[in-house]
């Protein structure tokens, strides 16, 4: 319900900006959108989490699934996140070692 997803292109990357709460109710929309982007041939995806108020394990699972899908296309899924409470969820689950996490969309799309 309380989730919005905006896609922009930047420097060869596809930036998916997520706003709102990612939980068991809204995560399927995020998953769908990622699958759609990959099937459109977007293989360098940056998920911008700066507008996210809440992220649970379902949301983490969708991001892991996205990363896996992209890796199988030799692509990558990286994150933008500076919010402490969201970073904490990645830290607890060890996923800071799995995802490249950037401070800004600029940094994430610089490469």
């Amino acid at each position: 319900m309380d989730l919005s997803l905006d896609v922009t292109e930047r420097n060869g990357y596809t930036v998916l900006a997520v706003h709102g709460e990612v939980d068991v109710y809204t995560a399927p929309r995020l998953r769908e959108r990622l699958v759609e982007l990959v099937s459109q041939g977007k293989h360098q995806i940056v998920v911008d989490l700066e507008g996210v108020d809440f992220l649970d394990s379902t949301g983490l699972g969708v991001l892991v699934g996205g990363l896996k899908r992209l890796r199988s296309h030799d692509g990558d899924l990286t994150l933008v996140c500076t919010q402490q409470r969201i970073l904490k969820v990645f830290e607890i689950t060890g996923l800071t070692k799995v995802f490249a996490i950037h401070d800004s969309v600029e940094a994430a799309t610089a490469g």
Binding site: M1, D2, E21, D23, V24, Y25, F54, D56, S57, T58, L60, G61, V62, V64, G65, L67, K68, R71, Q84, R85, K88, V89, I92, T93, G94, L95, K97, V98
Partner: protein
């Protein structure tokens, strides 16, 4: 079959929701509103409790499957002198929390095959005590967070 719920302090506040994904946000809202009324609790601890309760509600709802429209999840909230306790009760299939698979280490490439199973590890890290009580009618998850004493009543 269910062990009696140890209830610190007074009678609980109860929220009963249909076992549907759209209502987890309401459970979070109630928990964070109740927790922030205890001013001594830091914002990040409120976020921890909110996330833990949200994970427990998600599991409770998933345990019901999609079939039964009438099934319910009951959330209860107690305030003790030095702790908050939240329980989440479902009428789902039940499970044995001791038997959950361990995940491979995060650096293992296999790790990417585990899109699920992050909820209970999160709960265990976020709160100070967790207790799963499987029963024939479902599961009750009890979450405890330690905190300072309740704010003295300011009401005249």
């Amino acid at each position: 079959m269910t062990a009696p719920e140890p209830a610190p302090g007074s009678d609980p506040i109860e929220l009963e929701i249909p076992a549907r994904a759209e209502f987890v946000a309401l459970a979070r809202l109630v928990v964070s509103s109740l927790a922030s009324a205890r001013r001594e609790i830091a914002d990040d601890r409120i976020d921890d409790l909110k996330l833990a309760v949200s994970e427990a509600c998600t599991n409770a709802i998933e345990a019901h499957g999609a079939g039964e429209v009438d099934e319910r999840v009951l959330l209860r909230w107690w305030e003790g002198d030095d702790r908050l306790r939240v329980s989440v009760e479902d009428q789902g299939s039940g499970f044995d929390p001791q038997r959950l698979r361990d995940h491979p280490p995060v650096t293992d490439p296999e790790r990417l095959n585990f899109e699920r199973g992050l909820g209970i590890p999160l709960i265990r890290t976020l709160v100070d005590e967790v207790d799963f009580t499987p029963s024939q009618r479902g599961t009750r998850v009890s979450l405890v967070m330690y905190c300072g004493p309740a704010e003295p009543d300011l009401e005249p």
